[in-house]
């Protein structure tokens, strides 16, 4: 039970939090591990705050309760930090990954975080530049892989190439854009360890 790794995604309806969780889960499975991926159960509304979740383990996962104390919180839309309890239950040695340009120090103050690792990346900027639209979820996957050790970047890229390869057969530029944005976020994510550690 202790080796189950849990992630909570925060986004807005339409931003791809659920899709990211499903992709991440599927990518975990491609490495031979077990996973769960599930959205916050409720009606889907464009723009409304939504959550999605991941579990990962080397062993089969039987529990089906909600995730209350995630190891990692991923925030796709930084404005959610103003209104949503995004740090609720985050483990004391947890990781928070935010799509933002803001500094780790300002986030630590704003979110009243203690020892948790704060990771930031401008996923929106990357997606606008490389995908031509606001789609922070794919680059955030690259950043997530960098700041955790659930799967390797090569595993993720191999998986995304295969999955998008099927879906966007006639559009190689879409596949390339996604892969580039994953690599870019992987390389650009800034990691700041908590004080006192």
């Amino acid at each position: 039970m202790s080796d189950i790794f849990e992630v909570r995604w925060h986004g807005r309806g339409g931003q791809g939090a659920k899709t990211a969780a499903l992709l991440f889960g599927d990518a975990i499975m491609s490495t031979g591990k077990y996973f769960q991926a599930f959205p916050e159960y409720g009606p889907e509304r464009m723009g409304a705050p939504v959550q999605a979740f991941n579990r990962s383990s080397a062993e089969p996962i039987t529990m089906h309760c909600g995730i209350k104390e995630p190891k990692v919180v991923v925030i796709l839309d930084p404005t959610l930090m103003e209104t949503q309890p995004v740090t609720e239950g985050l483990k004391a040695d947890g990781i928070i990954l935010v799509n933002t340009n803001a500094s780790a120090d300002s986030l630590r103050q704003k979110l009243k975080l203690k020892n948790q690792k704060i990771c930031t990346v401008d996923a929106s900027g990357i997606s606008r530049e490389l995908l031509g639209k606001e789609l922070p979820n794919t680059p955030m996957l690259g950043a997530l892989v960098r700041v955790t050790d659930v799967i390797g970047i090569d595993d993720l890229i191999k998986f995304v190439e295969k999955t998008l390869g099927k879906k966007f057969k006639g559009k190689p530029e879409v596949i390339k854009g996604n892969i580039d944005s994953i690599r870019r976020a992987y390389n650009e994510v800034k990691v700041t360890d908590g004080g006192g550690k």
Partner: protein, 389 residues
Amino acid sequence: MPRRALTGNEAMAEAMRQINPDVVAAYPITPATEIVQIFASFVSDGLVTTQFIPTESEHSAISACVGASAAGARVMTGTSSQGLALMHEVLYQAAGLRAPIVICEVNRSLSAPINIHCDHSDTMGSKEAGWIQIYAEDSQDAYDSVIQAIRIAETVFLPTMVSTDGFIISHCMQGVEILEDKQVQDFIGPHRSAYSLFGGAPITVGPLDLQDYYFEHRRQLMEAMNTSLTTLDAVNKEFKQKFGRGYDIIEEYKTEDADHIVMAMGSTCGTAKVAIDKMRAKGVKVGLIKLHVFRPFPHEQLKKALSKAKFVTVLDRSDTASSMGGPIFVETRAALYDQMPKILFADYIYGLGGRDIDIEEIATVIEKGEKMKLQGKVEKPLDYIGLRE
């Protein structure tokens, strides 16, 4: 065997694709909508040869299913909650006409107040209809059980519903081992029905049956229900032997030396297994019985499995409105009556309308049960988990 990332709904739809039923008649309802929606895309993509009938209500959907089944077709549908409730009168007709229809059901609460989340009230509302009821723990279980259900229904000529917990399983993605299409077709074999409107000699289906024979026909239905346990067991054994996994009518988890048994159905069983491991690490001899089949009620199996138990903690995800507790509690106690008062029972209603149940909460009621076991007395036979009032 290849594993694919599928939600409960996707897994059920995939099983339906591989079964390739002759007719699917359906009406959408949350959280089961995707099952039929995905299946409809299989139809339009030409991946199945099914006649798909989109109807104007669930009452019409199941009515079309009964008609198609009487015509000798292999028939399936999907529904949930209010949809199953709207099917109610026709569910009895399907059973009485011995139509081997299979429903992919997703457990959801019943209105009012309106709620789209999981509890078992919907299928419990039709537990007396003469349908076999199978409760899947996860997506893999749902996929495998839907395939088995075709064989079971068409062997004993009883309609069968396989259900998953709404959202918790229907919308949770996990790795699911998928059989090859041919393996599924070979396992289910050609469609079998008790009769067909197009079977040769003209027949009448569903005529008036008054004081002369109605009684016999209903008793025979109950007899078919009783004997179907043998078929359920045999089909599962064959599935296990061929594909290496299966689901016993009652699954016993760490019960060998246990004098305290937790009973549950559906996705909670998986969570309960973790709670049992946790309590066992503290030296508590507790085990789990997962009721995989609720209809027919496996009373003989339960008598045997609970013969060494001193205390039984029942987790019910619905109530009977009888003030006697939930359906698992009421029926298990009735089955064990001859063995009482040696066994103490406590029932907990939990998770109505999708209220989460976690490992700690289950561990807490196990601890409470241990205390009552030592005291030899049950203070509160009916209590609640996670209730806020």
